[in-house]
Symmetry: C2
Subunit: 289 residues, 2 copies
């Protein structure tokens, strides 16, 4: 992408078409993820903000971001965000922990609309939930390597201790549909046992796919550990933002959901659909070239 | 990529620079894969053809190809192949089962040099190895969905029966470095037991990552099943091609290996390095834009 030019011209378009009246802003919330995991955030947004329209873009042609470098994730995120601006998005939600960890500040600097990631809301919820001040974080290799959760937690409360663990097998297990399987339980324990031994009392599910394993993780860790779901907390942060910026949808609006992907969907869309109970109509295909 | 133009102009360049003398062709063999799994093919090429130079390109910025659509895999393969032509490759090896399954014929039509995939050599070796005529094939979702191995086997011998199974968790397990682990054994048995029950006596490892699990698979399946490694057979096919086309390297040449990736390497490069015992010098970074 030749980023600078299109972003500036899009900004003009958006300002021109923003509604002048004060009865609400009908433009959609733009949501993106490297793939389809971000639909967990969409599901929470739909529950919390039923009259907001949502345009979701999953970069399935280049999924996953979780093992890629910061420079590449930043480039991909800017490209995807520019497609959301073309759709007249009034605000952008980065429904991907990897992109939030590696690209949020670049997006904030370069985009003409507000940007909400999943990390700050998740970190806030975790510091609220912890009793012993020891928080576990699981995510992709890139998210964990970035140290973004540790920084966010430390900014909120210097006394908090964080134990982080990359869990690269969880996304493939979820995409295989093995949500309740002995093998998945064993992989989870391999990853989570060291965090348990370390004494965490709160665990951040730091990848938008992971809420689909919430039941399994909850069963394995028991009541002693509070699970913090970045999807849920991100949706709450978006709601606060819309109020603060005065860009809520008109009250009479019935929000719709449009889903576009950069590569045709495979069977994981069915897994997500079933597990999230989302009404997804026809999926559009958006080419990146 | 605007493919047509650059490919044609590159063809001219290559023809101009091809050696007219008959004492061998010093140009490198170009090898590509979606990531680093194709180094298993490079390892076999190095053993078999020590005086050939190799330029390896791994598309780590967009890895994996295994869950993506034919159109996207074809586009990525043409883009990567054009970078190999820029490196003056005398022939191109598609060291990736997914790209071989979905893009080989497009590459053959569009490239000015010969192209060798991993599927035909693997299918040939499997039909040679089977005694009961029942061959199992494992690979990525895209490879298995394409039916490329079934077609290749049927073309060689109509009497052969194939049982194919997509094994999307194996690549992530290998990249995690869990080559010998109880969990990997359980995942393997989940995938392989139905093929065993079905009565196969030969199994094609239809993904260039899988040779790294050869020991584990051999231990689980025992002597009753012959394992066919696409890497080994692809290298033999390349050797035959070089002789047939009269483009072998000069006998006095000491082949070198250059490795380039589209995204900086992560720890899997160490896994591959150790398991394959390959001398990899400094890894170049090649941007796709």
């Amino acid at each position: 992408m030749e980023a600078e030019e299109p972003l500036v011209s899009m900004m003009t378009t958006i300002k021109d078409s923003a509604p002048a009246e004060m009865d609400g802003d009908p433009r959609p919330i733009g949501v993106f993820d490297s793939g389809i995991g971000g639909l967990t955030v969409v599901s929470e947004l739909r529950k919390l903000l039923p009259n907001e329209s949502i345009y979701y873009l999953g970069d399935t042609a280049r999924v996953p971001y979780g093992g890629k470098s910061p420079a590449t994730v930043q480039r991909y995120s800017l490209e995807i965000a520019s497609l959301l601006l073309e759709q007249n998005a009034k605000t952008i939600v980065v429904a991907c922990n990897t992109a939030s960890a590696l690209a949020l500040s670049v997006l904030e600097q370069r985009l003409p609309v507000t940007v909400t990631g999943v990390i700050a809301p998740g970190a806030q919820a975790a510091t609220n939930a912890t009793r012993n001040g020891h928080i576990g974080v699981i995510g992709t290799r890139a998210t964990i390597k970035s140290g973004a959760y540790e920084r966010a937690l430390c900014n909120l409360n210097r006394g908090v201790r964080a134990s982080a663990r990359a869990c690269p097998l969880l996304v493939p297990l979820i995409e295989e549909g093995w949500l309740e399987s002995r093998i998945t339980d064993e992989v989870l324990m391999e990853y989570l046992q060291p965090l348990m031994d370390d004494g965490i009392d709160t665990l951040v599910l730091g990848c938008t796919h992971y809420p689909l394993l919430r039941t399994a993780i909850g069963r394995l860790l028991g009541d002693a550990v509070t699970l913090v779901d970045s999807a849920e907390n991100c949706a709450a942060a978006v709601k606060r933002l819309l109020v603060r910026e005065n860009i809520e949808a008109p009250r009479a609006q019935v929000g719709d959901l449009r889903v576009a992907l950069t590569d045709p969907p495979d069977r994981f869309l069915d897994v997500a659909h079933e597990a999230l109970n989302l009404e997804i109509g026809e999926v559009q295909l958006r080419s990146m070239t």
